[in-house]
Every structure is written in C-alpha cells, then in structure tokens.
Amino acid sequence: MDHALPVICAAIMAVSIIMYVVMDGFDLGIGILFRFAPDDRARDTMMAAVAPVWDGNETWLVLGGTVLFAAFPTAYSVLLPALYLPLVVMLVALIFRGVAFEFRARATTGRRWWDRAFFAGSTTATVAQGIVLGAFIQGVDTDDAAFAGGSFDWLAPFALFCGIALAAGYALLGATWMVMKTEGTLQAWSRRRAVGSLAAVMVAVAVVSLWTPLAHPAIAQRWFAWPNILWLSPVPMVTALAAAGLLRALRRGDEGTPFVLAVALFLLSYLGLAISLFPAIVPPEITIWAAASAPSSQRFLLWGIGIALPVIFAYTAYSYRVFRGKASADDAYH
C-alpha cells in the first residue's frame, strides 16, 4: 500500500493541474483575447463570461501547489526555487488579472488601465506558466534532493517556445468558451479567433512532440521502442482527429462542441506529457517515490481529498449551472 500511495497522490496532483489548466485556461485565454476585442461592449461581455467562476478556477492552482507540498515536499522544495523567477512573475501577473475584475467594475476614468492590466496580466501569467512547464520538461539540476542549478537555468529556447505555445492553447480555450457563451457578431469574432488559435496550437503541439524526443533520448525510447509504439500510437492519431473535428465544428457553427474538443486536445497533450515523464516528478532524476512525504501524511491528505473533492465537484457544477447560458454585457458588474 505504501508503494501505491505516491501513485495515487500523483494522480490527484495530475487531476488538480489539468483542472487548473482547463478551467483557468479559458479565463486566461479570454484575457489574452481581451486586447483584440472589437469594442467596449464586447469587453464587458467577455468579462461577464468568466467573472462569476474565475476565482473557483484559480483555486485549482492553489490546490496543485499545496498538494505538491503535502504529498511531494521534496519536489515542492526543488521545483519552486528552480523556477523562482517565472513563478514570481506568474504570481504578480495573476494579481493584476485578478484585481482587474473588481477594479474595472469600480473604475470610471481608469477603466482602460484595468483593461490593459487584465490583458497583460493574463498574457504574462500564461507565458510564465508555459515557461514553467517547458523548464519542468527540460529537467532540473539537483544534488542530494535539493536544487543545485542557477537562477536562469529555465531560460532556454524550448521553455520560451512552450510559453508561446501555452498562450496559443489558452487562447483556443478562451475563444471556444466564448463561442459557447456569446451570440451574434461577438460569437462570429470568437469563431475566427478560435480557428487562428487552433492553427497555432497544432503547430506548437507538433513542434513539442518532435522536440522532446529529439532532446531527451529516454523520452524517445519510451514512445518509439517496441511494443510501446503500438500502445502509444493512438495518442497522436486521436489528437489529430480531435483537431480536425474541432475545425469542422467551428465551421459548421456548433456552439458547445468546439470547447469540448479544445478540452480534449488539452487532455491528449497532457496525457502525452505524462507518458513522457512518468514516474519523474522532478525530471530527469527524482521519482514520485523518492519525493513522497511520509505515508501518514499522504494518508491524512487522501482522507481529506476523498471526502472534500466530491463535494467540491458538486457545488462547482451547481455554480456553473447557475451561470449557464449566454453571457450579457450587463452582467459584467454586480
């Protein structure tokens, strides 16, 4: 059982991260697109499409951070110093994004400044998260389970590329969320943004899928060695199918399907990453077992998660149900 505990905790961790990526992904994506919105009324509608739910969405980031702390303190205490600068920039950017919701509603003459803060905060936070992801895949220098690298180790072409790639991905989530939540000209505008983001995302997915095995022989081995290639080949194929389906749904005028397929694209890319990296929690060397906290800590944590998470899912679903339907610019303020 003690051997399985870290695997269960890693699964919970993975769920927290993907919940965050998908849910705050569409919030942040709308922030990225905010700069290009046709007019003020469109901006109000975009705000209204996420204002009641963004706080709950962002909470998954806090859960991810604290579960990492509780279940894998070694990973937490290696990764966070290693990614110090991008994480600090992300946190500060999330501050601007977060306060913009309320401040924009309260401001009169200063509103356009909070519009800018919302766009810049969302975009910077996203790029920083992408850099964190890229640096994580690149791997971290460790010595005796402590960070042993430099402040700028993360600064590499691959990590920067991941930053831009994630911005395209979140923009796709945001645009497809907008397709679902808006109507008329704003919906048509969102559809065009979704098609553009999708093209960028597919290029990015292809580049990352080639770059990682080329740069990391162990990852190449995992994907291309026999018989793995047999089991794993459906992942890229289903990804391509999902992308084609998404493009078709956008062209056909579907409202809900594009968002669902965009989420599917994220899940598949995420699965690909998990396949590449498992069981490392600090690539390339530290595994989930080496980084695990005491079994009694993990057990206490899992009790809490087992009881609380179903309840959280229930009231989160309720909250989304309350705010279902098209967003209206008049709902941007309370």
Partner: protein, 444 residues
C-alpha cells in the same frame, strides 16, 4: 561579501507579502459574518434599508476579498520559492494542513462568492443567503487551518524527527497544538472587531456628514453591540494567550515585557527603550509587582527573564516590546469606545455626540493596525526560530541567490503599493457615494 543576503531579503519579502495579505482576511472574515446576518434579516423582513446596506457592503467585500485571494496565492507558493529547506523538512506536517485549507475553505468561498456577487437575480433569495453564509463559514474554516499551521510552528507537537525531517505522529495533536485554541480565538475575534470598527466608523462618518443618516445609524447600531461585547472578551482571550506564551515560549514573553532578569516580583514595564546590548531598559516607566500579578496571578510570582536564554536565542526585544504595546493600547482603546458607545446609546445620545462619532470615524482602521502589531509580536517574537526550539529561520531559506529575491521583493512592493492604493481609493469612493445611489433591485 554579498550585500544581497537571500535570508534577510526572504524574511523581508515574507513579512511584506503576509503583512499585506493579512489585512484583507482581517476585514473579510468579520464582514462576511455580518453580511450573512444582514441577509437573514432581509430574507425575513424585505426591509429596503437592510437591502441597501447588504448591496453596498457586498461590493466592499468583493474588492477586499479579491485582493485577499490574489495576495494569498503568493503565500502558498512562497513556502517553496523562498523557504525550500523549511518546506523539505516540515512538508510532512504543514503540507496537509494547507491542503485541508484549500479543500475545505478556498473552494467553498470561491464558488459561492460567484453566486454571492453575480447571482442576485439568478437564484432564489434563500439560496443567495445560503451562498453568503457559505462564504462566511469558509473564511472561518480558512483561518482554522492556516492558524493551526502557524501555531504548530510556534508550539510544535504530535511529531517526531527522523533524519532532520518532521514526521507526523498524531494529527489531532498537530492541529490542536498548545497555542492553537488561543491563537484561533484571538485572531477570529480580532477579525470581527476589525470589521466592526470599519462598519461603525463608516456609519459614524455618514452621520457626521449628515448624508445617508439612516444608513449610517444602522451601521453604528449593528457594529456597536459587537464591539461592546467583543472588545472586553478579546482582552480576556489575550490574557489567556499570554499565559500560554509564558509556558511555551518564555523567551518571547520575556521580550514582550522587556524582562531581563529572571525572578519575582516582576514589575510591569509600561514604556521604555529596551537596550539589547546592555540587557536593560532605558527611560523606563514601570509599575512594581504588576507584571507578576498579570502573569502569575500573585504579587511576587517569579517569571523567566531573557537572562534564562542564550543571547543567540533572543528575539528583537524593542520590536516585540513595542508592537505588543501598540496592540494592547488599541485593545484598551477599543474597550473604552465600546463601553462609551453603549452608555451613550443607553442614554439616547449616541447619534448626537459629535465627539464620539468623530472618535469612531478616526478609529475605522484601528483593527488593521492592531492585527498587524499583534502579528509582528507573534512572528518576530518567535525568532530566531522558524519552528520554535527546533529549526532556526536561517536554516530554512532556499538556495536562491540574493539578486533574484531582491528582484521579486522590489516587484511585490511596487505592485502591492499600486494595488493597495487603487483598492483603498475604490472602497472609499464606494462607501462615500454608497447607500445614496439607487441600486437595481432583485429581478430587474
């Protein structure tokens, strides 16, 4: 030498970020409770005045809560970014406590906040009232877990040490460690007092300005009973908390009282400049035997002084001594304002006593200052320990160069300055125009 010491900079940064953050929960814990009570009243009476108060203060709550959320996320990552050696050794114990805070409080608050702010016309009134209550309960649950974690660092229990790492042995003992019940009661009461003084102060201001008089009076009437009851109660809780500190963190207590030489009878130093180098007080003003009376409940009971501890284990005495006196001074001022308000009200002169209304308006930020001063007392008083008696602060810092921390510190100070300025400006403007502005009613 390296002039950018990551340890010093990380300590300053943690102090700045947590000091900034603590301001918002200090207000929102109590404010959410009052909003829930207001909403129950509105549900029962549909009173238009109650609705105006509810709508206005919900907006204020939203601004403060948003700032609390975004500044709180920083803290959950800062344990790792700046205190990784500490996280590595204490993660087994503290990680689950912080996770429980997210699982039982943050999601609850965040999800129902959306309904509280944007759900007025989307859910039935009873459901909206439930959402507000859920947020109010969530804020207290959040305080429960984070104070359990903080208290464990002050008075650790329920653990064993294995290869320098803290291993949990008894979760009940970890959560309900010796200082936790006192700290939890003290902090939640402080938060309710903080909100009480904000609401009362704004009410007094409106009555003084002869604008929104009915609303202003209602705010005063709502907050004064709370202040009159909680201010004396808080002094009792603080006294009990002090006795707990005497037993579990005697060096902190000695620093609080600037008590250098062990023994009794101990005088109570009212004012002094504690000189750490000379280990004595300068310009001292003290009452004989009163220290013993307060701390041992006898006239000559002995109390451990700083001489009972190696100098390397002393906290910064002047900081702890004075922050404690600021907190206690405000506490007694609150007691006076609560009692005076009750007497004036009883005599029917509350709303005509301009001197009293002016004092209350001035006291609007009193709770925030007391909370910050109390927090400095508790945290600086724990130094040089990160975990009392077990791990020094200097052992906890991350292997991050000083330059990086200097950059992040400068960034936080700048950003928090801008955000704080804007937030205060918007809240003051909301409250100034607040109840006079007609508000859309439900269903419109």
């Amino acid at each position: 030498m390296d002039s950018l010491d990551p340890l010093v900079l990380s300590r300053v940064q943690f102090g700045v970020t947590i000091g900034f953050h603590i301001l918002f929960p200090s207000l929102t814990i109590g404010l959410a409770g009052w909003l829930a009570i207001l909403e129950v009243r509105w549900l029962r009476t549909s009173d238009a005045l109650v609705e105006r108060l509810l709508r206005l203060w919900t907006k204020v709550f939203a601004v403060a809560f948003g700032m609390g959320v975004v500044s709180g996320i920083v803290l959950s990552y800062e344990f790792g970014t700046n205190w990784s050696a500490f996280s590595q050794r204490a993660g087994n114990v503290l990680g689950p406590l912080l996770s429980y805070e997210v699982l039982t409080a943050f999601f609850l608050e965040a999800s129902f906040l959306g309904i509280m702010l944007f759900g007025w016309s989307r859910v039935p009134r009873a459901m909206h009232c439930f959402a507000t209550s859920a947020v109010a309960i969530g804020t207290v649950i959040s305080a429960f877990w984070i104070l359990a974690a903080n208290s464990w660092m002050q008075t650790p229990s329920g653990y064993r040490v294995q290869d320098g790492v803290f291993m949990p042995v008894d979760w009940f003992a970890i959560v309900f460690n010796p200082s936790f019940p006192y700290r939890f009661a003290h902090m939640v009461t402080a938060a309710y007092l903080t909100a009480g003084f904000v609401v009362a102060g704004v009410g007094a201001w409106h009555v003084l300005r002869q604008r929104c008089i009915a609303e202003g009076r209602a705010m005063l009437a709502a907050a004064l009973p709370l202040i009159a009851i909680l201010a004396p109660l808080q002094i009792l809780i603080g006294d009990q908390h002090g006795l707990e500190v005497r037993d579990h963190q005697p060096a902190k207590l000695a620093a609080i009282e600037a008590h250098w030489k062990s023994g009794g009878p101990m005088k109570l130093v009212l004012s002094a400049w504690p000189d750490m180098a000379a280990a004595q007080n300068r310009a001292e003003l003290a009452v004989p035997s009163l220290g013993s009376l307060i701390l041992t409940h006898s006239w000559d009971g002995p109390v451990a002084g700083l001489d009972a501890f190696p100098r390397a284990d002393w906290p910064n005495v002047p900081v702890v001594f004075w922050s404690f006196r600021i907190m206690v001074g405000i506490g007694f001022a609150m007691l006076f304002l609560g009692a005076a308000g009750a007497i004036l009200w009883w005599r029917g002169r509350l709303f005509d006593s301009r001197w009293y209304l002016r004092l209350m308006a001035l006291a609007t930020p009193a709770g925030f200052i007391a909370v910050l001063a109390g927090w400095v007392t508790a945290e600086v008083g724990r130094q040089p320990w990160l975990i009392q008696g077990l791990m020094r602060t200097s052992e906890g810092v991350s292997p991050v160069p000083g330059g990086s921390v200097a950059f992040s510190l400068a960034l936080f100070v700048t950003v928090y300055g801008v955000i704080f300025g804007a937030g205060v400006y918007y809240v003051v403007r909301l409250l100034r125009d607040g109840p006079a502005v007609p508000i859309r009613s439900v269903g419109e």
